[in-house]
């Protein structure tokens, strides 16, 4: 299994979990693109396409004229320094930005060719198609079972289906079933941080979305738990499209097929195959950022 390779890399002491920019020396020597786990062969459809996307919070511009085409069944990583707008971009896709009163969106953001900011798009329906996993694990204060079943229940899919089987399938999909199968009725909050995050992934995939957005899903986890999540992401792309925001450049290099680099000011500086971004970027600023000289 190719995932073993990434396992060793993550548990390596030299990996800097918190901020990829703080130690240039390590990054320069350690970054290598893990081709084995990538899915870059062959052409796929574009599933999410932004065109001239601007996002403002009040008077502050968080995204500046972002244009990008994100392919289906691939892991696309968003990297860049803090405040560069990568999380904002993620939240724009499933319109979680709507929850922030001051947020305003201009330009186009298309999901399968449909602008998600069109008047006839219901954000509730959109979020049933585009799931999200958050930075710190946020299981509901309910049982493990109810956590996974929550999405199916609120989406009205739970009636008339084999809910037990659906919960098991989701937990297996999140590589958590074997650890929790005997304690499904215990609180999700009793799990460890890494297990909680996998529970949140199970919760997201239970409703069978097309895209899963991940906002720094491993930044609150220890390296071992993080590596399990990374392995999981590599498996998820068989069925889903994964768009992941990460501060950790090694992680982006290990798990993603495509990488988008945002820099301060909400500008998308470069978007290409992950190997190209890390080995031969076009833009000097990207090269500086990757090698730790900027950001």
């Amino acid at each position: 299994m190719s995932s073993n390779t990434s396992n060793e890399q993550v548990t390596d002491e030299s990996v800097n979990e918190t901020d990829g920019t703080s130690d240039g020396a390590i990054i320069e020597t350690d970054i290598s693109v893990d081709r084995g786990s990538s899915h870059t062969t062959g052409h796929t459809e574009t599933i999410v396409r932004a065109e001239g996307l601007d996002v403002y919070y009040g008077d502050d511009q968080a995204l500046d004229n972002v244009t990008i085409e994100i392919p289906e069944h691939r892991v696309t990583a968003m990297i860049g320094p803090s405040g560069c707008g990568k999380s904002t971009f993620l939240r724009s896709i499933n319109r979680m930005n709507d929850r922030i009163p001051a947020a305003r969106v201009d330009g186009g953001l298309h999901f399968r060719g449909k602008n998600v900011y069109d008047d006839d798009v219901d954000p509730v329906a959109l979020r049933r198609t585009i799931g999200q996993v958050f930075q710190s694990p946020n299981p509901f204060p309910k049982s493990i079972y109810d956590n996974v079943a929550y999405g199916l229940r609120v989406q009205g899919k739970a009636d008339g289906m084999d809910l037990d089987a659906a919960v098991e399938r989701a937990l297996r999909g999140a590589a958590l079933w074997d650890e929790v199968k005997d304690q499904l009725n215990e609180s999700g909050l009793d799990l460890s941080g890494g297990q909680q995050q996998r529970l949140c992934i199970a919760r997201a995939i239970a409703t069978d979305p097309e895209v899963i957005l991940m906002d720094e899903p491993t930044s609150a986890l220890d390296p071992v738990a993080a590596s399990k999540i990374e392995d999981l992401i590599n498996e998820l792309v068989d069925e889903y499209t994964v768009i992941i925001v990460t501060h950790n450049m090694q992680q982006a290099a290990r798990i993603s097929d495509k990488t988008a680099v945002f820099l301060t000011g909400g500008e998308l500086v470069e978007f290409d195959d992950t190997a190209t971004i890390f080995e031969d970027p076009d833009d000097d600023r990207v090269e500086n950022y990757i090698t730790g000289k900027f950001g």
Binding site: V124, R128, P139
Partner: protein, 358 residues
Amino acid sequence: MSTETQSGSGISGDDSLEAAHEKNRRVRRVLFGCAAVTVVTTVAIFLVLFDNAASYFFGARISEVLFDGDSIARTVTFTEFFTGTRWAPDHATPAHGVLPIVWGTLAITIGAGLVSIPIGTATALYLSEYASSDTRNRLKPILEILAGIPTIVYGYFAVSFLTPVLVDGIATFLVNPAGRGLDSVSHHAPGLLEPLASGMMGASVGRYSMLAGILVVGTMTIPMVSSISEDAMQAVPDDLRNGAYALGATKYQVSTRIVLPAAVSGIFASYILALSRAIGETMAVTMAAGFNANLTVNPFDEIMTMTAYLVSMARGTSAVGTVQYQSLFAVGLLLFLMTLTMNLLNDRLKQRFQEEYR
């Protein structure tokens, strides 16, 4: 000195540090003294109530028995007190069954809860989950003003609006849904519900009624429920809401299936506080519900709560030390125990649900 500074490294303290410690100890004693005031007061109140209540049942206070050697004589038996159904300690033929006024208090408390809990919870949910922050910032102070209005003012609200307009209106509607007034009932064909309503009400609604008491206490405890519940809902981490919204939950689903369960301890605490306020409420309920100890379920009847009894007896003409006067303390003790139970229940609930979320 200089050698000491070098070898002792200045960690052994000196006079000025000692003075600071002394000041520290003084401050500590003063603070403890202030904290002790409330504890001592609570204990003293309980002892006075207990001591005097004993004289109601046994003819002599515990302190009199202990220090003056007074003898014990059963005046009111516990059986009569707790099971009698007529309460008239100062009547020519006295009766000491506390049930009617306990019932009065319970009826007001339960009724007020039926008003304030649904309305207060809905208000809290609206403010916390539905209202924009602008609306919330404008509405919340108004709610808190409502909570700060003196209860006597609520009493006037009951006397001048609730009783003549609302309670009378409801009574009129029940007697004659076509809208004719109470006075005209006898002159016209009876309305559909007249037998029921007039049977329930007797002749007409007087100045006082259980319903008016329920409505006024219910109204005045709404802010307590809504304000504390809203705080509890606001304390639910936004992460949980985001998690639910990201799964395609609607606002209603997030409110009812995530926020409400996660905030349940705070919400229950607000209910208990509102109910214990209703139990102890005196001024408004006296002005609205009256002074007539009735064991009745008719909401249009005058009733008397325990607090109303305490007011009337404390201002009455009974001589201090008589059985009728000492009934004051027996009822007071019972009331104290009821609110104490509610407070303990509140603490228990808080502990029980504390771990609901991180």
